[in-house]
């Protein structure tokens, strides 16, 4: 028993298998892998790989501006809204006796209803109080529904000539021909050219459209150019990855790239590279394992790159954030311990004392162990036989400083503070542990100017 959609996708290569459980893949040999990756696996494979690589490049670049303009989801509505256009174009061409499966005709139809869908969203937003998510949901589903109705009508009435129309839904990269690859190349070239020429204008409109308008820039024209590029990439991607998945190529590479950089031109570059890599690797894998549809594999490849970026990126990645948070918690824990010793005028901390602090602060035994370890590594503590640990001079000094900062901060809270949002994403009572020397000096100046007596600097190196 087979799923009908699978039959649609790869009708010629599924002959042998009678059950889905029987389908097995033969692992390709090393030679096959190398041939595929170096464009030597035959004309067809080369066409597919170069076409999807160029498509990924274009989509990655253009997707950056859709993302920054917060139009990513509108792109999804656009791609779904192309389906009724494809059906109508087929019927239109057939009724005039033209070649109903001519790609330019079908893509022209796709473009028309796709743009119509976007206009419908704008209209709904303008003339009702619906929010954008609702408007997109309505347009996306209604247009797609209309497309499905059109498709089933065609299958019922012109089944013999309609084979292949379904490829626009799921994509069929294997049908790519040299003209398609040239088309992808032209679109990728256009995307790069437009970005080179208009990076300044695009970024201005994406960042602050009201300012751009006051400054005299034709915001709607610039928006139109960006939207036109999105339409172009979407329609071009229909054949290879299909209308359901093409939006992934516009969204995933830019968001993955965003993890790696804070610079716009680098974002464009990295997003383009991630898109191209997804197209290249995805279609190569699909070529090596013949039952894997290229579009889906390309999207999965992009998804994998996104997951890696989200985890591993140095500044914005999840792991980097966890490490920074943990380091901060360890530092705060260490501060508390040293401050505690300072306030008791002790230079040693007994085991019982340590246990008491840990209970008070709610430290788990492993966390307590890590705090002690990090303090030892930093040279704040050394072992003292029988009696627990002994503070080094550096440790004593740090305890005194933290204690003083605490006092300073308490005094300052009488007034009000303004600290970078990126520095206060943890609770406010941690502030005293993150005060830089610069901030401490500023605190002292302000308090002094208000006539507040500063806590003494005893034991604190200046």
């Amino acid at each position: 028993m087979r799923l009908s959609t699978l039959t649609l996708l790869q009708p010629s290569q599924t002959g042998g298998a009678s059950s889905i459980a029987d389908v097995t893949d033969d692992w390709p040999s090393m030679a096959q892998i190398i041939d595929t990756l170096t464009f030597q696996a035959g004309h067809n494979t080369t066409m597919v790989i170069s076409g999807t690589t160029l498509l990924g490049l274009a989509a990655g670049i253009i997707g950056v501006f859709a993302l920054l303009r917060k139009r990513s989801l509108m792109t999804d509505a656009l791609s779904h809204a192309t389906l009724p256009g494809i059906a109508l174009a087929f019927l239109f061409a057939a009724s005039f006796g033209l070649n109903a499966k001519s790609l330019p005709v079908l893509l022209a139809g796709a473009t028309i209803t796709g743009v119509l869908g976007v206009l419908c969203i704008q209209g709904i937003l303008r003339f009702s109080r619906l929010r954008e998510d609702a408007a997109i949901g309505i347009v996306l589903s209604v247009f797609f529904g209309a497309g499905i109705v059109g498709m089933s009508y065609i299958q019922a009435n012109a089944a013999s000539r309609s084979g292949g129309l379904n490829h626009f839904i799921y994509g069929q990269a294997a049908t790519m021909q040299p003209p398609d690859v040239i088309l992808m190349g032209i679109i990728a070239g256009l995307a790069m050219l437009a970005t080179l020429l208009f990076l300044k204008e695009f970024s201005l409109v994406c960042f602050n459209d009201a300012f751009a308008k006051v400054d005299g820039w034709p915001v709607s024209v610039i928006d139109l150019v960006m939207m036109a590029l999105v339409v172009l990439v979407t329609v071009a991607g229909l054949q290879a990855v299909g209308l359901i998945l093409v939006v992934a190529l516009l969204i995933i590479p830019p968001v993955a790239a965003r993890f790696w950089t804070e610079r716009l031109w680098l974002l464009v570059l990295i997003a383009g590279l991630i898109g191209a890599a997804s197209g290249y690797l995805g279609s190569s894998v699909s070529a090596l394992f013949p039952r894997k549809p290229a579009g889906a594999v390309i999207v999965l490849t992009a998804g994998a790159i996104f997951a890696i970026s989200m985890l591993l990126a140095p500044a914005r990645g999840v792991i980097a954030i966890i490490i920074r948070r943990t380091n901060l918690r360890l530092k705060v824990g260490g501060d508390h311990l040293l401050e505690h010793a300072h306030e008791l005028h002790q230079t040693t901390i007994s085991r019982d004392e340590l246990r008491r602090v840990a209970k008070l602060r709610g430290w788990t035994p492993p966390f307590r162990f890590m705090i002690m370890l990090s303090l030892r590594i930093e040279g704040m503590l050394k072992s003292a036989a029988q009696r627990g640990v002994e503070l080094t001079d550096a440790g004593i000094e740090r305890g005194a400083r933290v204690s003083r900062n605490h006092a300073l901060w308490e005094q300052y809270l009488v007034s009000y503070a303004d600290i970078a949002p990126s520095h206060v994403d943890w609770s406010v009572d941690l502030v005293e542990h993150v005060l830089s020397d610069e901030l401490v000096h500023e605190l002292e100046d302000r308090l002094r100017s208000r006539g507040v007596t500063l806590p003494d600097r005893k034991g604190v190196a200046s």
């Binding site: 602050n208 804070e262 610079r263």
Partner: protein, 281 residues
């Protein structure tokens, strides 16, 4: 100069405001009979105003009084239901290069992949022109503007890593980079630290020394007398406008903040209900 009061004269559309006796072409901005509505609900009624040249002008009024709407309408960012606005006796189209704008800080996504310097350079784009790259001389000019607001050291910082006050100063620097003669600033003092407040006040004074006019939406009544020359008291209409010493008094403040212009806001609600055909609230 006497306080300018609202009047209810109607003009034919198309006549130049500067030719009318109550408006002057030497005024940086003249507003005539301007009414603004959001979703058919009027938020500003029949506003008439002539800004005096080379003054620091505060717009004050309660929340929802239409302060931001007033400057957005002057700049053509929200459509006018009726009325005319002219800059130095010319339509906005022709005077654009002489007008600078500081939007509300919350109006943009600060997690945008640009540095503080990049944002300030945006103020130079109009001079740079289509498709041309930002040259070194424009970057120098932008750096000088950052310096003016005490932010030169943060030039290469990504903008999400700046504090609220620093972000506000970046916006101010961008407006300075526009090198305009008339500035509109939407709540530049909202939620900023003391250092930023001092920096903004210093910049306002410099702008005045250079002969410029600045219109600022302001929320802090305490500092109006200290920072500004002129004040517009706004609550859906102009209650009073003129030199701070003349119009910024208890009586006018009472009219603006207290007493809740109940009739006017009820009328606005009624208009909204009738226009949209649905009962609201």
């Amino acid at each position: 100069m006497s306080p300018i009061n609202t009047h209810n004269t109607r003009t034919k559309q198309g006549t130049r405001l500067s030719e009318r006796p109550e408006h002057s072409s030497s005024s940086p901005i003249s507003v005539h009979a301007m009414t603004i509505a959001y979703h058919k609900k009027p938020v500003l009624w029949d506003v008439d105003y002539d800004a005096p040249s080379n003054k620091l002008i505060a717009i004050v009024g309660p929340n929802g009084a239409g302060k931001s709407t007033f400057i957005k309408a002057c700049l053509g960012l929200v459509p006018k239901a009726s009325g005319q606005v002219e800059f130095w006796g010319q339509p906005y189209r022709k005077a654009r290069s002489r007008v600078g704008y500081v939007p509300q800080r919350e109006s943009v996504d600060w997690d945008f992949p640009v540095s503080a310097l990049d944002v300030v350079c945006m103020g130079r784009y109009r001079r740079i022109g289509w498709c041309m790259p930002v040259t070194r001389s424009h970057k120098q000019a932008a750096l000088a503007c950052l310096d003016q607001v005490g932010m030169r050291d943060y030039a290469s910082r990504q903008i999400s890593q700046l504090s609220g006050g620093q972000q506000q100063r970046v916006f101010l620097a961008r407006a300075l980079a526009q090198e305009a003669d008339l500035y509109f600033m939407d709540e530049p003092f909202a939620g900023v630290d003391a250092a930023t407040e001092r920096a903004i006040v210093a910049v306002l004074r410099q702008l005045k020394e250079q002969g410029k006019t600045v219109i600022v939406v302001h929320h802090d009544l305490q500092t109006v007398t200290e920072y500004f020359d002129e004040v517009i008291l706004l609550n859906m209409r102009i209650v009073a406008a003129g030199p701070v010493s003349e119009v910024f008094n208890k009586d006018n403040l009472q009219k603006t903040y207290g007493g809740r212009l109940t009739l006017l806001s009820e009328a606005a609600e009624a208009v909204a209900r009738t226009a949209s055909g649905i009962p609201e609230k």
